[in-house]
């Protein structure tokens, strides 16, 4: 089989779908959905074929730009990481496409929405397949653009408008550092090709340059919404729920983690240390913030932040395989949770406040059951997928870095706490508003994707069942972790630790919030704590202050230059000049054709006298 063609098809099918939708099907939403789903489906099938059949590393490269000595190429680098991510992105992406058919059924702008989804799939797959940093950056920006486009789907609401801008600008800040890092990489290592860098770094005497690594991880911080650029992710929930599921939970934020794993070979020890602390800090910080949220999607957004912290911590501890393992399982159960919440929101007529839901388990039993599966997978309950991946990371932290270990355990406890709160309040008890009373079970398209995702959330963690090529990614690292634990004789500890955090978390949430609470117990009993948590450490306020007082001044100066120099002198000046010339030319236009003939004759005489040498 010609793998180049296969990978190119995986990459280009969504692009073709997007183009077809954009050019021909803007008003025909149903057909557009069909086109996008077909493309996503075939991408998924091809990715599966590659996963099982393409069992060795594969790379191919095409020249793209050549400026003197500098050569930028477009290429594909396929390794176990790529295989896993290709499968995850296409699989989850396809299911979300299917879900969207149900969720967006009464939306007037379906064509635009599915165009956006397809462009997003294309750009994300580009990141996954890219064989060099420049190509990765190109698709990185495309992902940013498509997320901007999709968050702004409900562009007529103020919230979506500001959220899309915020997401884009926050990403730009990180991308700026990443771009500098790429330029520095090229300058320092004379190549940006990932495979070449891997070969390079395995040679003896190779010194990793810390500055490059620090600049490159700026891109990760922006895209994966890590501290201090994390504020965009919760706001990005203003987009349609399938978008939140696809972009801000399952795949886009995973791009940051994937990027870290791809460039793992040129990350130095100090940078890894930074990543560990960023990650584990985020685990706890996001976990606390989630308690103050009442919007079901925002709670899930904060849990995404916290799970991303786990992945970052795994990379920082030197186990990129485990990070991708958690990315994979997280993609399944987070997509399930988001789509489940989408199903709930759809059923409750776009009510997102959990304290106005309640009693949903009677109205929509299947969704409730599936949401429960997602919850236990997220909290890492025994034998679900989250248990395997999350506990592996916690075990790594145990023998590598004790403070991080404590933070991660605390994070697991918090996760169970806020997820318990969400589940008890929104699904159990009795209905608390008109909307939730009239809730009904969702349609076929939505349920079928939920069921598949729930299945994957349960079994996705059993790496024995993975394709052999993809398993290479995690098996080695899992074995290492296992041996370490055995040699430290900590199996007993971990069989307890695998249960305690979530058990305590669920129990405390149940005791504190009770079933089907009408009001937030934390707000009632401890208003000061609640308001403190609700401030999210004043990040938005600090950014607001900075933008108002520093950036705005600078922008004013620039604006002045623009108005006076560019606007006044260049634009008005040019226009004025053209206007004068036009007025002069108009006076020649007298409307009588004979006059034009006279002008012609005059020109002839001038020409003639010139030719005769009279001038």
């Amino acid at each position: 089989m010609d793998w180049t063609k296969v990978f190119l098809s995986i990459l280009l099918l969504p692009l073709v779908a997007a183009l077809v939708n954009m050019l021909f099907l803007r008003r025909n939403g149903t057909t557009a959905a069909l086109v996008s789903i077909t493309a996503a489906f075939f991408s998924m099938v091809l990715a599966m074929i590659a996963l099982f059949k393409c069992t060795e590393r594969y790379s191919v490269s095409f020249p793209w730009l050549s400026l003197g000595d500098f050569q930028a190429s477009m290429g594909i680098y396929y390794n176990p990481m790529t295989a896993t991510m290709l499968f995850v992105v296409t699989f989850v992406g396809f299911l979300i496409h299917v879900f969207s058919v149900g969720y967006m059924s009464d939306d007037p702008a379906k064509g635009r929405f599915f165009t956006g989804l397809s462009i997003f799939m294309f750009s994300m797959l580009g990141i996954v397949l890219a064989d060099n940093l420049i190509m990765m950056f190109v698709f990185w920006e495309l992902v940013g653009f498509s997320s901007y486009m999709l968050i702004a789907h409900y562009w007529n609401t103020e919230e979506a408008r500001s959220a899309c801008k915020k997401a884009f600008i926050m990403n730009r800040i990180g991308d700026f550092g990443m771009l500098l890092g790429i330029a520095w990489t090229y300058w320092h290592y004379k190549t940006v090709n990932l495979q070449a860098l891997e070969v390079f770094s395995s040679q003896p005497g190779f010194v990793i340059h810390g500055g490059i690594a620090l600049l490159l991880i700026c891109g990760f911080i922006g895209k994966s919404a890590q501290f201090p650029l994390h504020t965009w992710l919760p706001d990005a929930m203003a987009g349609p729920t399938p978008v939140s599921a696809l972009i801000h939970a399952a795949t886009m934020v995973a791009a940051g983690i994937y990027f870290l794993c791809r460039i793992f070979c040129i990350l130095d020890a100090q940078t890894l240390e930074v990543i560990v602390w960023l990650g584990s800090g985020m685990v706890v910080y996001a976990g606390i913030c989630a308690f103050a949220q009442t919007d079901i999607k925002k709670i899930l957004a904060y849990s995404t932040l916290s799970q991303l912290g786990y992945m970052a911590a795994a990379v920082g501890l030197g186990f990129p395989g485990l990070a991708l393992f958690h990315t994979t399982t997280h993609a399944f159960f987070k997509a399930l949770l988001f789509l489940g919440s989408g199903s709930v929101i759809h059923a409750c007529h776009h009510e997102q406040d959990i304290f106005k839901m309640g009693g949903l388990f009677k109205k929509m039993p299947l969704t409730t059951a599936l949401f429960a599966i997602g919850t236990i997978a997220l909290c890492g309950v025994m034998f679900t997928s989250g248990y395997f991946s999350k506990d592996a990371i916690i075990e790594v932290a145990y023998f590598k870095n004790t403070p991080v270990f404590i933070l991660l355990i605390l994070g697991a406890f918090l996760t169970a706490g806020y997820m318990g709160r969400l589940f008890y309040v929104a699904f159990l008890g009795s209905p608390k508003s008109q909307n939730s009373e009239h809730a009904h079970e969702s349609g076929f398209f939505m349920l079928v994707s939920l069921v598949v995702l729930a299945g994957m959330s349960l079994i996705g963690g059993y790496t024995q069942g993975w394709a052999p090529f993809a398993r290479q990614l995690v098996s080695g690292e899992l074995d290492t972790v296992h041996h370490q634990i055995v040699s430290l004789q900590a199996e007993g500890l971990f069989s307890v630790l695998g249960i305690l955090p979530w058990a305590i978390g669920f129990a405390i949430a149940l005791l504190f919030y009770g079933i089907g609470a009408k009001k937030d117990a934390l707000q009632n009993h401890l208003p000061s704590v609640y308001s403190f948590v609700n401030q999210k450490l004043w990040f938005d306020e600090i950014y607001g202050f900075y933008v108002r007082n520093v950036q705005q001044r600078f922008a004013d100066i620039l604006n002045f230059c623009d108005v006076v120099l560019v606007g006044g002198l260049l634009v008005r000046g040019t226009a004025g000049l053209v206007g004068v010339v036009g007025m002069m030319a108009r006076s020649l236009h007298v409307g009588n054709i004979h006059i034009y003939v006279y002008w012609f004759l005059a020109g002839l005489i001038i020409y003639w006298s010139f030719a005769m040498g009279y001038f």
Binding site: H594, V597, Y598, L601, L604, I605, W608
Partner: protein, 160 residues
Amino acid sequence: MVVGRNPVNGAMFMILSLVGVAGLFVLLNAFFLAVLQILVYAGAVMVLFLFIVMLLDVDVVSKRSPGNLTIAAGTVSVFLLGLGFVALLDRPQMLPEPTLLAPERLPSLETPMAFVTGIQAYGYSLFTKYMLPFQMTGLLLLVAMIGIIVLSKRFENKSV
């Protein structure tokens, strides 16, 4: 053509002069251009003219005497032309009529004449030296075609 009042007569004289120019082309050994002249001008262009003349059915209007300025302009132009002729005839013949190049080999029974005529020379120039003008001509024809379609389309919302 210029003095007559009836446009149809004018067009007929026009055809006559075009055919005459074609004859001159023949005398100058430009056979292909002569054929082109007859086909495009006398054939297509003038038929189009006649067609429009008859379609519009313009009345023969009384000839109005042209304005002073026009007469002056006409005089000046005739004067210029005369000046040109004087300059032309004033100097000796600078360019003798060059002999045409003989074909490289004369056709015979053994070597029948290959399909080489003057046209090949045009084609060669058109597709090498004048490639860009040639393409632009194609574009111009396309623009003209579209323009005519737009012009001859009636727009309902405008009053005629």
